[in-house]
Symmetry: C3
Subunit: 308 residues, 3 copies
Amino acid sequence: MVSLKGKDIISALDFTREEVEHLIRVAEQLRKEIDEKGILDYAKGKIMATVFLEPSTRTKLSFQYAMVRLGGTVIDFDVSTSSLAKGETDVDTLRIIDGYNPDVIVLRQKKPFFPREIAPIIKAPIISGGDGWNEHPTQALLDVYTIWRELGRLDDLTVGIMGDLKYGRTPSSLSYLLSKFKNITIYYIAPEPLQIREDVIKNIEGKVTYYKVNDVSQVIEKLDVLYVTRLQKERLPDPSLYEKLKGSYKIDKEFLSKFKKIPIIMHPLPRTWELDPSVDSLPQAKYFQQAQNGMYMRAALIKEVLGV
Amino acid sequence: MVSLKGKDIISALDFTREEVEHLIRVAEQLRKEIDEKGILDYAKGKIMATVFLEPSTRTKLSFQYAMVRLGGTVIDFDVSTSSLAKGETDVDTLRIIDGYNPDVIVLRQKKPFFPREIAPIIKAPIISGGDGWNEHPTQALLDVYTIWRELGRLDDLTVGIMGDLKYGRTPSSLSYLLSKFKNITIYYIAPEPLQIREDVIKNIEGKVTYYKVNDVSQVIEKLDVLYVTRLQKERLPDPSLYEKLKGSYKIDKEFLSKFKKIPIIMHPLPRTWELDPSVDSLPQAKYFQQAQNGMYMRAALIKEVLGV
Amino acid sequence: MVSLKGKDIISALDFTREEVEHLIRVAEQLRKEIDEKGILDYAKGKIMATVFLEPSTRTKLSFQYAMVRLGGTVIDFDVSTSSLAKGETDVDTLRIIDGYNPDVIVLRQKKPFFPREIAPIIKAPIISGGDGWNEHPTQALLDVYTIWRELGRLDDLTVGIMGDLKYGRTPSSLSYLLSKFKNITIYYIAPEPLQIREDVIKNIEGKVTYYKVNDVSQVIEKLDVLYVTRLQKERLPDPSLYEKLKGSYKIDKEFLSKFKKIPIIMHPLPRTWELDPSVDSLPQAKYFQQAQNGMYMRAALIKEVLGV
C-alpha cells in the first residue's frame, strides 16, 4: 500500500510509479469534492508553514489554496519583512519555525539540495517548493497529472522540453517523474548554452530515450507534449547572457500554424517572451489548466503527507 | 428586487439608487450582528482573493476584516514577494488566481479601466479596489454610507470635494454615486492644475449641479459635507509639481474656527499635510468613523456579491 | 486574583511576581493542550491584529502561531505593501486598525515608548512586540519562562546578560522581570560602548545586585544563565561602530570548553557572529527551546488579555 505520511518530498526521483498514480487518483477525487463543497475538512486543526526564501506566485499561492481547501490553516513566513535583514541564517529560521510544531513545511530556497541537507534536523515533513536550479518535484507532479488528464496515459509518450533546460528546475523534475513510466521519449530542445545538465542525464540514462536538438521545428510533429520554459534570468551567471539568448526560442500561434500536428502546449509559468499570448486561444494551450491542476495535486500531496 | 449576486463591482456609475440604499440597509444590519458576535458565518466555506497590485492599507485591510467577520477566508496575493519580479503580466497573474476558483476577487491595479478589461475573461466576480486615477467604487459606497449615517439623508445635499480632483480616484466615484440622488450640489474645490477631470464632468452633467472653485473659504458655510483628499504624489506626471502644489490647500482647526457653520469633514485617508491632526478633536471630524464604516459596507457588498 | 483582561502589555516593569507566575502556569497548561490537540478553541471568534512597523521573524510568527493555536484569527498589517509609502503616520494607521475592532493589537514600533503614548487613544488592548531600543516585555516573559523550565526556580539566580546592552531591548525587559524575584544577581557583560543604559539601572536599583564587567571569562563559572544578545547593527548611531565592535564578544564551543561549569546559554535570536553554531550541540544550549517556549507563553498572554 502506498503511504507518504510524514515523508519529506524533496526530489521527483524519490517517487515510485505507484505513488504518482495514487496521487493522481487522490487529486481527481479531491477535485470532485472541492468543486462541490469549496472547503473540506481533512486538514482541520492542521497547520502548514510556508517558507519561501525565493519569490513565488503560483507555487506558494497554490499550496495556500490547497491547504485552505483541505480545511487547514496556513502560516506564512514573510521573508520581505523578516529578520533575514538582521543576518539570520536560513537554517536558524527553519529550526525556529519547526519549533512552533507545524504539521508540514513547504520550503523554497535558493541553494540546490538545501532541502535534503536541512530535512534531517527538522521534525516536520518538508515539501520542497523548488531548490534553486535543481528540482521542483511538486511541479513535476502537476505536470504529469496534466498530461494524464489531457492524454489519458503516462506510458508511451513523446515529450519535448524546450527552453532553459540548464538553469531551470522543472525540466529535471519532469524528466525524473516521466522516467518512472514505460516507453518515454524526451526531446531536449534548447540552444547549446541552455541544454540539459549532465547531472539530469545521469539520472535518466537507460530509463528514457532522449535526444538533444536545437530546433523545435524538426521534432514538433512527433511530440505528444511540448513543454516550454522561461529563460531563468535571475540564475544566469552573466547578465549579458540574457540579452544574447533572449528570443532564441519562441512559440507563437503563427509558428504553430505551420505544422500539421500540434502537440499540447504546457508551461510551468510565469512566462515572458517565449510563449506568446496568441497561443492562448488554441485548443492545445493547456498551461492555465496546468496551473489549476496544481492546486488539486498539491492538495492531494498535503493530504497524503499529513496522512489525513 | 435588488440582487448583486455574481456581479462585477467596477464603477460607481453601475449602481442604482435602490442598490445603494439596499447596501446601506445590509451594512447597518451587519454592523449590529458583528458588534454583537464578532465573527458571523454568512461566508463560511467561501474564499476571497485579494490582489493588490498597488500599495494599500485601508482598502485591503478593511476587505480582509470584512471577509473574516463574515466567516470567510482570505487568501492574499503578496505582490512584494511574487513572480511579478520574473516579468509576469497582471493578466496572467489574474487568470492563474481565477483558476484556483476563489468566490470573489478584490483587485487593485494601476491602469485605469483595467478591471473592465479583465472582467470578461475572469470567472470570479471582481470587486475593484481602485483602478489608478480612475475610480474607487467601494470607497464611494462607504462615503455615502457615512454621509447617510451622519446626516440621515442622501438627497438634498451640498458637498464640497476638495484637493487633488484630477489624479485622485475618490472624487470621481463619489460624484457618480451622489449623482444617483436628488437635488445634489457639488463644489469642486481645487487649484486649477488639480481640478476635476472632464471625463468626470461628462458623467454627471445634467444629474447634479456643480461648480468649480479655488478657495474653500468662499463656499464652506454652504456645505453639508467637506470631503478632503490627498495630493496623489505617486500619480503626478512631474515630481516638481508636488513641491509646487504642496500646501496649496489645507484644513486645520484654526482655519475652521473662522466660520459660523462647519460641515462634517471627511477624508478617504491616508492623509498628509492637507488635513491637520488639530481637526481630529472637532465633532465634525468624521474620517475615522468613515474608515470604520468601510468595514461594514464592504462586508455588505461581499455578502451581496456572494449571494449569501 | 490575577487578571490581565483588557490590559495593555507595554513594559516588563508593569508585571507583578504573581502575574508572571500565573502566566507560567497558564503557558504550561496550554503547552499540554496544544501538544495534544494542535488547535484549541479558547480564542474562537476573536481577531488579533499584528502591526509590525519594524522587521520581525520570531515575535510576529510566534504571536501568529500562538493565536492560531488558541483557535483565533490573525489579520496582519503588511507594512511592506502599505500606504505608509503614501506618508501616513503610525498613529493614523493604528487608529484605523483600531476602528476595525480587533480584540487585541500586537504592535512593534521603532520609537521608544510609542506604545505607552498610543495606548490611551486605542480601544483594543495593545501588546508591545518591542519599542525600538527600549523594551520587549513578551520576550522577557518567555525568557523567565525558559529559565523556570530549565532551572526550576526564579529566585536565587545569577544571570549574565552579554552583548549589546545599550541598543538592545531585551536586556532591559529581562532585568525588569528578574527584579520582581528574590536574591537576583545580574552581571552586565559588554564592552564599554555597549554597556547597560542608565535608565535601566535606575529601574532595578535596590531590587537586584548588579555588576558591570567587560570579560565573560571572569564571571562565567558563577552564572546560572548566560544570556547572549546580538549587536543591534540597525540601531547604531554610526555604522563604522559596527565594524569596530563586530566580534568584540563571542561565544563558541571551544571557548566554553575551557570552563569547569557552563551555565545554560540563552539568546533572543536572531543571532549573528556572537553565538557560534558550534554551541548548538551542547546540552546547555537552550535558545531554540527558548524560541519555542515563546509560542506557548504568548498564547498564555493572549488568552489572559482576551480573558477567555
